[in-house]
């Protein structure tokens, strides 16, 4: 759970590009389809001599399908819980490393120095997704928005919000 400040406004919430999730889940779906096909065709083509084993095969098929179901949702959890939030005051990065392993970091917009975009490969180039690195004045870490859609647009949005934040801070000091 992320606690926002009373005067904080969420500008945007970014996640990885959905195609990265499809690439992760596709092998699992393929294996699941092979298991379903095997279990269904097994009932038709299994020799009469081995028919006594069919319920056992069916049970094992359901067991493995259940494991795949859970694995697929672990991948979905990883996808949905990896999130980068841009507010009018800071950038919050929530990274689900694995189950029960989570890193939440934040950085004030005043500490952002510059950004860089990395797009490698044919599919990321066609679908416009890649890594956006936000360099900060903090020596601890940079923020990496991994495989986000339209990183150049996000970079501009961060720059614009940081500028507005700096302007608001200056106004506060003047008053």
């Amino acid at each position: 759970m992320i606690l926002f400040r009373p005067d904080e406004k969420i500008i945007a919430v970014y996640r990885r590009h959905p195609v990265t999730l499809i690439f992760e889940i596709a092998p699992l779906v393929l294996f699941a389809l092979v298991i379903i096909a095997g279990a269904l065709f097994g009932g038709v083509f299994i020799p009469a001599k081995f028919s006594v084993l069919y319920p056992l095969i069916l049970f094992l098929a359901v067991f493995f399908l259940h494991l795949f179901w859970i694995a697929a949702f672990i991948m979905l959890a990883d996808f949905f819980l990896d999130v980068w939030i841009l507010t009018n005051q800071r950038v919050i990065a929530v990274e689900q490393k694995s189950l029960f392993s989570r890193v939440v970091s934040e950085c004030s917009l005043s500490k952002i120095q510059d950004t860089s975009i990395e797009i490698h490969g044919f599919i990321p180039t066609i679908l416009h997704y890649g890594n956006l690195t936000v360099r900060t004045a903090s020596e601890h870490q940079d923020f990496i928005f991994k495989n986000v859609a339209r990183p150049n647009f996000i970079s501009e949005e961060i720059a614009r919000t940081a500028k507005e934040f700096a302007g608001a801070e200056q106004l506060k000091q003047t008053i």
Binding site: L58, F59, V62, F63, I74, L81, L99
Partner: protein, 80 residues
């Protein structure tokens, strides 16, 4: 044989329940930037269906017949 199978089945159920609970906990506890209630509902419904299907498949296994099949098709064991 049946008792051993039931024991293995219970272990499998515990593993699957632990996996289901872990995924549910992560979605429920750590959701950020929008709810995932529909996704959680699909997950729980799918899990419940697979638990029922698994139970039905397990209940339909005839362990005596499988034991006979193994005995009758193994040269090292004399057939009944």
């Amino acid at each position: 044989m049946q008792a051993a199978a039931l024991f293995l089945y219970l272990i499998a159920v515990v593993i699957l329940l632990a996996g289901t609970a872990t995924v549910f906990y992560h979605f429920y506890k750590f959701s950020a930037g929008g709810g995932h209630r529909a996704l959680v509902f699909v997950f729980v419904a799918g899990s419940a269906f697979l638990f029922l299907a698994g139970f039905a498949a397990f209940a339909s296994i005839n362990w005596e017949a499988i034991l006979d099949f193994i005995k009758n098709n193994n040269d090292f064991i004399s057939p009944r």
